[in-house]
């Protein structure tokens, strides 16, 4: 056996054996490793749809003629608006927005059809609740587009087609499905959190219990101890990644356009970063509660500054620069690149390299801190 031979990794096999037993018994760790990803996938995969659809809309139709009803039908057919009611006057219209009953209120004035037939300008008032920026933006775009389209049709009655027509085509995610956008990002956040948390937890727990000190009077070598503790979680993280990809492809129908193998390979440096971060936290945290808090602290920038939810390009400069320090930024680029855009190694090797360098730096830092801490206590 390797242990008996000694060497720098002495104790590796024994610690590995023990950690595997811990993992098998530790319900909390299993919960974090398996069920939390599932919950979050379901939440983000099925529950959240960022596409704005069926916005509650109130209409005040003072005109009430064929033309005005045509306009209402067009709004309804856009799929953006859902007409939930009609009101009789301006006060009620306003009230519908203020009370939150509707996000959009449309007023078609009494002279709408007259203005159209006179070739004057028919005004339509669109009140939008600006408290939700994505809803508001979509409402502005769609109403403006419908207005413009209506105008053009009336102006260009003599022509069969428009002189210029923009034909936007969404690549990679043609239906703008939310799971396609969220799941590759969630993968990064989850993998980081679970791995960091489990690694930090396993070491802090030993220190808190006093078993770490006990191990230091045995012939186990620091490297044997570290790797013995890390490898099981590396395996857990990797298994979790595979489970995640499997569910993503089957249950959530997000296809991997690039190479799944490349995705797995480029995940290794990221998992390494997460493990090193866990080690660093364990060298800093005095208790298990502290370790949980510090792990949560690493999760926040990974969610908010990595491009997972908010696009990095639109961040204010300080935050944009900060996002370069967040490992998840690079990994999300890798996951979205491979899964959605079908990117290959040539496009992504730099991200992998940055992660590898980050992991090495963190691991060295953790090892130094760890030694200092062990000697001091």
């Amino acid at each position: 056996m390797h242990d008996a031979a000694g060497g720098a990794f002495r104790g590796f096999g024994a610690v590995l054996y023990k950690e595997a037993l811990h993992l098998r018994r530790d319900r909390l760790a299993l919960f974090f490793a398996i069920f939390m990803p599932l919950f979050q996938m379901i939440l983000l995969g099925f529950g959240i749809d960022t596409n704005v659809r069926q916005v509650k809309t109130i209409v005040l139709d003072e005109n009430n003629r064929v033309e005005s009803r045509q306009l209402i039908d067009r709004l309804r057919n856009s799929d953006t608006f859902r007409i939930t009611g009609y009101v009789q006057n301006d006060r009620e219209l306003n009230d519908a927005i203020v009370s939150g009953r509707a996000k959009v209120a449309i007023k078609i004035p009494w002279d709408y059809s007259d203005q159209l037939s006179k070739r004057g300008t028919a005004l339509v008032l669109v009140l939008i609740d600006g408290s939700d920026s994505s809803v508001a933006g979509q409402a502005i775009n769609v109403t403006t587009a419908i207005g413009l389209d209506e105008s053009l049709r009336r102006v260009l009655t003599d022509r069969q087609s428009l002189p210029v027509e923009m034909r936007p085509q969404l690549l990679f995610n043609p239906d703008s499905r939310s799971p396609n956008f969220f799941l590759p990002g969630l993968m990064a956040a989850l993998l980081l959190f679970v791995t960091t948390f489990l690694t930090a937890f396993t070491i802090v727990r030993e220190r808190e219990n006093g078993t770490l000190e006990q191990l230091f009077v045995t012939p186990v070598k620091p490297l044997g101890l570290m790797f013995g503790k890390i490898v099981p979680y590396l395996v857990v993280a990797f298994a979790e990644l595979c489970l995640f990809i499997l569910l993503m492809v089957t249950a959530f129908r997000v296809p991997v356009h690039g190479s799944t193998l490349l995705l797995l390979v480029l995940s290794v440096p990221y998992i390494f970063v997460a493990l090193a971060l866990g080690l660093l936290i364990s060298s800093k945290a005095g208790s298990q509660a502290e370790a949980i808090q510090l792990s949560l602290l690493t999760l926040l920038p990974s969610v908010f500054f990595s491009g997972y939810i908010f696009p990095r390009d639109t961040m204010p400069l300080p935050f944009y620069l900060l996002s370069y320090l967040v490992p998840a930024s690079y990994y999300i680029n890798i996951t979205r690149g491979i899964i959605l855009r079908g990117a290959g190694f040539v496009h992504l090797w730099k991200d992998g390299l940055v992660l590898l360098v980050m992991g090495l730096a963190l691991a060295l830092l953790a090892a130094r801190r760890f030694r200092a801490k062990v000697i001091a206590t």
Binding site: M1, D3, A4, A5, G6, R10, G11, G13, A14, V15, Y17, K18, L21, H22, R25, D26, N209, G210, T211, E213, Q214, L215, F216, V217, T218, P219, V220, I375
Partner: protein, 326 residues
């Protein structure tokens, strides 16, 4: 290990062992010589440096000064080799609660790299020595305090160490488990294993073949229990010790303490141990107490016990320190 010939026959030899934490000196210039197979009791108040000494001797904590050899290995330079030969049960030796008794043993056996066959044998032996057999498949976390200690001790001696460091092994366990543990210590010491044991219990100290007392980082007593009791400092010339048996012991103690020529008085169960200056009139003490309604049942000369020794040495050391400060 030829270079350490000077420590031949000694399990532990420490010379001016010192550990500082910043400005604070936790252990200051401690000299120790512990022979092989001795049961060495290391005593002292909390915070006086007992655990720090153990940590230095087991290679957990670097030395700030001095030098030490354990089983002939220099703790500064040969810590790695040393670890193969020592067993250490820290104050809060904790087992892995979510591992069974058998798994805990197996883990420590693997750590020491015992070959599979020998490990089986050792585990079987230790299970029977400690009576842990019936609990083999039970989670360590579900054992009671005494059984946990037994398991901890079994884990610490799996690799058959030549010297065992036990830091307050009997703190917080029941009398039966305490008795069992000491029986085991003597059985093993008979086989040549050296024990370095810290304790607060005087009855345990009395059983040791060699005791030392550390007080505020300094060693103030070192020797066999009988040698320490015979120390002239403990029974200064012109004084003697008396044991006074009387009812209403607390009230009697208050009275005795205030009497002329009584240097110190301590209650032990149903009697008072007093250190008095000669010539001392025992009858006067009796009549004094009788005047207060307390009838002394017995007064007899007393040889000091270890607690008397440590109390006396501590107060003398304290007086010296205060004098040095003044």
């Amino acid at each position: 290990m030829a270079a350490e010939n000077s420590s031949n026959g000694l399990a532990i030899r420490a010379v001016q062992l010192t550990r500082r934490f910043g400005d604070f000196t936790a252990v200051g210039g401690v000299d120790l010589r512990v022979g092989r197979g001795e049961v060495f009791g290391f005593l002292g108040p909390n915070g006086s440096g007992k655990t720090t000494v153990i940590k230095m001797l087991t290679g957990l904590l670097p030395l700030s000064g001095g030098d030490a050899w354990v089983e002939g290995f220099n703790v500064r330079t040969e810590g790695e080799a040393l670890r193969e030969h020592i067993g250490y049960m820290s104050q809060k030796f904790s087992l892995y609660d979510d591992l069974t008794v058998g798994e805990n043993l197996e883990f420590y056996g693997r750590i020491y790299g015992l070959p599979a066959e020998r490990l089986r044998k050792r585990i079987d032996d230790l299970l029977s020595i400690h009576g842990l057999g019936p609990y083999f498949g039970r989670l360590a976390g579900k054992l009671s305090g005494g059984w946990k200690k037994r398991l901890a001790l079994a884990c610490a001696m799996l690799h058959e160490p030549k010297i065992m460091f036990l830091d307050e092994p009997t703190a917080g366990i029941d009398p039966v488990a305490r008795r069992h543990l000491w029986d085991l210590i003597f059985a093993l010491s008979g086989e040549g294993v050296t024990f370095f044991v810290t304790t607060h219990y005087m009855d345990e100290a009395e059983r040791c073949s060699h005791v030392a007392y550390i007080y505020f980082s300094k060693l103030i007593a070192d020797g066999t229990p009988s040698a320490l009791k015979a120390l002239p400092e403990v029974s200064p010339a012109g004084t003697r010790r008396l044991e006074i048996r009387a009812p209403e012991i607390t009230r009697a103690w208050h009275l005795v303490r205030e009497m002329e020529k009584v240097r110190s008085a301590t209650v032990f169960g149903e009697s008072i141990h007093a250190l008095v200056t000669d010539p001392f009139d025992v009858d006067r003490l009796k009549s004094e107490l009788a005047r207060n309604g307390i009838l002394v049942s017995e007064i007899r000369p007393l040889t000091p016990n270890l607690e008397d020794v440590f109390v006396e040495l501590t107060s003398q050391h304290q007086a010296e320190m205060e004098a040095a400060h003044a």
